[in-house]
């Protein structure tokens, strides 16, 4: 009997190997569907296991922690794995059509290589969420980087290649910076396991250096302002399913690692100034990304800049969980709100952003271009996609009752509780700007077209995949109880229990 934790990694990897070995047309669909199904089943098994019997841990290679590598699953990792599973399989459903022979937009090479690359990426995302070893996280991050960059290059267009190159260089630099931090940590603690390092005494300057290197590297990979320069081209020039994967899922992985290190390895909350700095950069991202999104004339670039902005909200967790120099928690009593709010934002953003990129894919397919000015008459031609884009937009803006609203409400509550009212101001301005670019985008859809133009027909399944994601991004706002209970299992944010 293999543990569900291991299945979450094994199932996509088996699928990836099969898809690489048998890329023929006959096998592609059964392998893809089988791999998605098996991975979802593993995710379900893991969720019910953690839900019923608490956090899990297993040793690999039969060697317990300092010598071997451990896998660990607590509420937060399961939350991320479920997010990846739900969003990933809906994107997969879209990709099944996008990379099928029915669609004339892709080349045989793309169709052959998409599935092995995406499945290996999925497996290593799960591997990151389950890993308890800082060096193992480095290797998994590299797998993710290479797979993500290769996915961008699949489309073969010159601008996609240039964007992929910039992304590869930035991510490579981020990995090396992270690895230097790992080296410093190992030199200080003589161990690589997160739990073991966390239990040791703090070690002054070497640890500060390690944190600086790792945090910078991970922030670069997460595209935190001002290190976001690589994101808009990379995310907008890729094919629609790839854009959705990158924006919804890949950037969250490095953020997750940063969060783990903040709470688990380094005594993050003690670094008040660092927390404020990260929060300030996040705020700058919110404003700058939204402002840039307002100025875009192409749908995919607009959505990509919106990702830069939405990533900013994630970084508000750092000031909200920091301790004041006097020692008391800034948001004492509101920590639960801060942590669950940010996790929830990651989830609702993943759903909404995947929906928008898939919707943009439909637009690109039907209109042959994603210029906003070309989208005239879309509300009548593509009512389902327009509806999906609008609903996803509602969740991004944070209007009630949506997942985005719930998340922002929680963050605002925590910020007010912490007395850091300035973040509320930023969130308000960011929300207004978001509303601005969403309306600007939708306006074109409702303008009636000048002259009837010849368009390619859109088929139902791909529109439904986008719609399902958009609806989910709203629906998650209605049920907060279970996710909250899940998130506290195993005490992933070790300051929850403090008064």
């Amino acid at each position: 009997m293999i543990e569900p934790m291991a299945w979450c990694i094994l199932a996509p990897f088996i699928g990836a190997s099969l898809a690489f070995l048998l890329p023929g047309r006959v096998w592609r669909r059964p392998i893809a569907i089988g791999a998605i199904g098996a991975t979802l089943a593993s995710v379900w098994m893991l969720t019910s296991q953690v839900w019923n019997s608490g956090a899990q841990r297993m040793d690999l290679s039969g060697w317990p922690a300092p010598l071997g590598i451990g896998l660990a699953a607590d509420g937060f990792s399961v939350f991320m794995i479920v997010m990846t599973g739900v969003v990933g399989s809906l994107i997969g459903a879209y990709a099944l059509w996008h990379y099928s022979d029915l669609s004339d937009a892709t080349e045989p090479a793309e169709r052959r290589l998409f599935w092995p690359l995406w499945l290996i990426l999925w497996g290593s995302l799960n591997a990151i969420y389950l890993s308890s070893d800082i060096f193992n996280i480095y290797v998994a991050l590299e797998v993710i980087t290479l797979a993500a960059v290769a996915l961008i290059t699949l489309s073969g267009k010159a601008e996609a290649l240039v964007a992929a190159m910039r992304y590869l260089l930035a991510a490579f630099l981020g990995s090396l910076s992270y690895l230097m931090g790992v080296a410093l940590l190992y030199a200080t603690h003589g161990a690589l396991d997160l739990v073991i390092i966390a239990d040791q005494e703090r070690a002054g300057l070497p640890e500060v250096g390690a944190f600086a290197l790792m945090a910078t590297g991970l922030a670069l990979k997460t595209a935190l302002f001002p290190m976001h320069f690589w994101l808009p081209p990379a995310h907008s020039k890729a094919a629609a399913p790839v854009s959705a994967i990158l924006s919804a899922l890949v950037v969250k992985a490095s953020f997750y690692v940063l969060l783990r290190l903040w709470f688990g390895v380094f005594d993050g909350p003690a670094m008040y100034a660092v927390g404020i700095l990260l929060g300030t950069l996040g705020s700058a991202a919110i404003i700058w990304g939204a402002f840039q999104a307002l100025r875009q004339m192409s749908l995919k670039l607009l959505i990509a800049h919106s990702t830069v902005a939405q990533i900013g909200y994630l970084f508000l967790i750092f000031p909200l969980t920091a301790r004041r120099p006097s020692g008391e928690l800034a948001a004492a009593g509101w920590i639960t709100e801060a942590c669950t709010g940010v996790s929830y934002h990651a989830l609702s953003h993943a759903l909404a952003k995947a929906a928008m990129f898939l919707g943009a894919g439909v637009v690109l397919h039907v209109y042959g271009s994603d210029l906003l000015t070309n989208m005239r008459g879309m509300s009548r031609r593509l009512p389902i996609t327009t509806f999906a884009l609008a609903i996803a937009g509602v969740s991004l803006m944070g209007l009630p009752p949506s997942g985005g609203f719930a998340a922002k409400w929680l963050i605002v509550t925590a910020a007010l509780g912490a007395g850091q009212w300035w973040w509320v101001l930023v969130i308000l301005i960011g929300g207004l700007l978001t509303a601005g670019y969403i309306f600007l985008m939708l306006r074109w859809a409702f303008i009636s077209e000048d002259a009837p133009i010849q368009l390619r027909p859109a088929n139902m399944p791909i529109q439904l995949a986008a719609l399902a994601l958009a609806l989910l991004s709203v629906l998650v706002g209605f049920r907060l109880e279970e996710p909250f209970q899940l998130l506290v299992i195993g005490d992933p944010f070790p300051i929850f229990d403090l008064p």
């Binding site: 690489f20 060697w63 045989p108 290589l113 200080t188 300057l205």
Partner: protein, 252 residues
């Protein structure tokens, strides 16, 4: 007028570059100072896992500590690492427009000297690779070093114009490339089904299993290295992509 503009632009570019150099220099210097200070504050050691690793060495099936770490204590890392190599090849296939090696750069003309040298070197390189692989059990050496040497042999075959990897067919190439990753995958599932921890090797048979996995990994690494050298996108654009660009233009 245009020349004046060009000079101006050039001057501005240079000024920008100078700013960039100064900023980068200051940043790098600051980081260097931080790192040096951190290094000087490092504990004296010894700290790491040398003792633990040595104490359990007898149960790992190999006598060389680094091989024990790579293929027993932390074999999961090595698995992902083999995955990274597989990904690099997939990525290069993606750039070439497909997982095939036909149309790799035309082989150079046959050169008698080079052919002679190849005939001499290939057996030697293969032997060296085998020796390195076997050596890894108790001395410095192992799958990665052996794989690179074997890959060099493959690249040499290519250089001398002898048909090799580019003639054995797509399916065979893919199997050779994936076999290392698959070996770990099978080991992971099989050990767990046998009631052990995932990737745990029973001390009695660990040596044999490691040698088997390493051999398969060597094959994959060698193929990967040879493909990396051979399949680099060259001057001629891969036909698939070129044709696609033309079609794209025709459509718009």
């Amino acid at each position: 007028m245009t020349r004046h503009d060009a000079t101006l632009r050039r001057r501005r570019r240079r000024a920008l570059l100078r700013v960039r150099i100064v900023v980068a220099g200051a940043g790098a210097l600051a980081l260097a100072l931080l790192l040096v200070a951190a290094v000087l504050e490092l504990p004296e050691g010894p700290l790491g896992l040398a003792e633990e690793a040595a104490a359990q060495l007898a149960h790992t099936g190999v006598d060389h500590a680094v091989t024990a770490v790579l293929l027993n204590y932390r074999s999961y890392d090595t698995w992902l690492e083999v995955g990274v190599l597989l990904l690099a090849v997939m990525a290069i296939f993606a750039l070439r427009g497909g997982a095939h090696l036909e149309n790799v750069r035309p082989a150079p003309r046959r050169d008698p000297l080079l052919t002679w040298l190849t005939r001499l070197l290939i057996p030697m390189l293969t032997l060296t690779a085998g020796y390195l692989l076997w050596l890894g059990k108790f001395a410095p050496g192992g799958a990665f070093q052996a794989g690179v040497v074997l890959g060099a042999a493959g690249a040499m075959l290519r250089l001398s114009g002898t048909p090799s990897l580019d003639r054995i067919g797509d399916v065979a190439i893919r199997i050779l490339l994936a076999v290392g990753f698959l070996a770990f995958l099978v080991a992971a599932v099989a050990t767990r089904l046998a009631g052990l921890d995932m990737l745990e090797l029973p001390p009695g048979r660990a040596g044999d299993i490691i040698l088997m996995v390493e051999t398969l990994a060597t094959i994959s690494i060698a193929t990967t290295c040879a493909v990396l050298v051979m399949a680099m996108p060259g001057a001629e654009s891969p036909p698939a992509i070129a044709a696609k660009d033309v079609r794209k233009e025709a459509r718009t």
